[in-house]
């Protein structure tokens, strides 16, 4: 599913225009992006949480050529799946009905 498909699905589910759904999707991911850029934590109940992790720089080697290279320190967002989503992808519905 792409962003535009998500917009279409949201418009249909909520009975709102595509433009309104697009605003909702953009606001959502823009808010999440801004939080990560500020290095804030981000937690969506039932979905998951994000946190920016810092990785130190190190000296490594190019595995192909064996050449010594300097790997810079970097920051990357780390996603931890929420309990509900984790259970749902594994088919453990809390209600236990469907199979």
């Amino acid at each position: 599913m792409t962003k535009s498909q998500l917009i279409e699905a949201l418009a249909k589910a909520e009975g709102i225009t595509l433009k309104a759904a697009e605003t909702a999707v953009n606001v959502t991911f823009q808010s999440m992006e801004d939080a990560l850029i500020r290095n804030d934590r981000l937690e969506i109940r039932g979905f998951g949480s994000f946190k920016v992790k810092k990785y130190d720089g190190y000296k490594g080697r190019n595995p192909k050529t064996g050449e010594l290279i300097e790997v810079d320190s970097k920051k990357l967002p780390f996603f931890k799946v929420g309990k509900e989503l984790k259970e749902r992808v594994n088919g453990d519905s809390p209600e236990g009905e469907e199979e």
Binding site: K3, I37, L42, E43, R45, V81
Partner: protein, 95 residues
């Protein structure tokens, strides 16, 4: 500070398109659609943000980290997130 769904609802409400109640319902539905899609095993790709994928993990032997006892871990599915290049650059700009 931690960003939560309540903040996203506020940001949507601030666009003056929906009431507070509608904004909350729309954000709830949005994440429900993403969860439903992942539950069906389909990836969700948000350009400029990143990609959520479901990966299948085989059964493997593991150990109870507390007691060291060997245990069999059942096959399972995990959700992974890969940050987009654009977002990665923006996170690292002010490093």
């Amino acid at each position: 500070m931690t960003l939560t769904k309540a903040h996203i609802v506020e940001n949507l409400f601030a666009k003056n398109i929906f009431t507070k109640t509608e904004s909350a319902e729309i954000i709830e539905t949005l994440f429900e659609i993403v969860k439903q899609t992942l539950e069906e095993g389909e990836d969700v790709l948000i350009s400029g943000f990143g990609k959520f994928s479901v990966k299948e993990k085989n059964q493997r032997r593991g150990r109870n980290p507390q007691t060291g006892d060997p245990i069999m871990l059942s096959p399972r599915k995990v959700v992974t997130f890969k940050c987009s290049g654009v977002l990665r650059e923006r996170i690292n700009e002010g490093k």
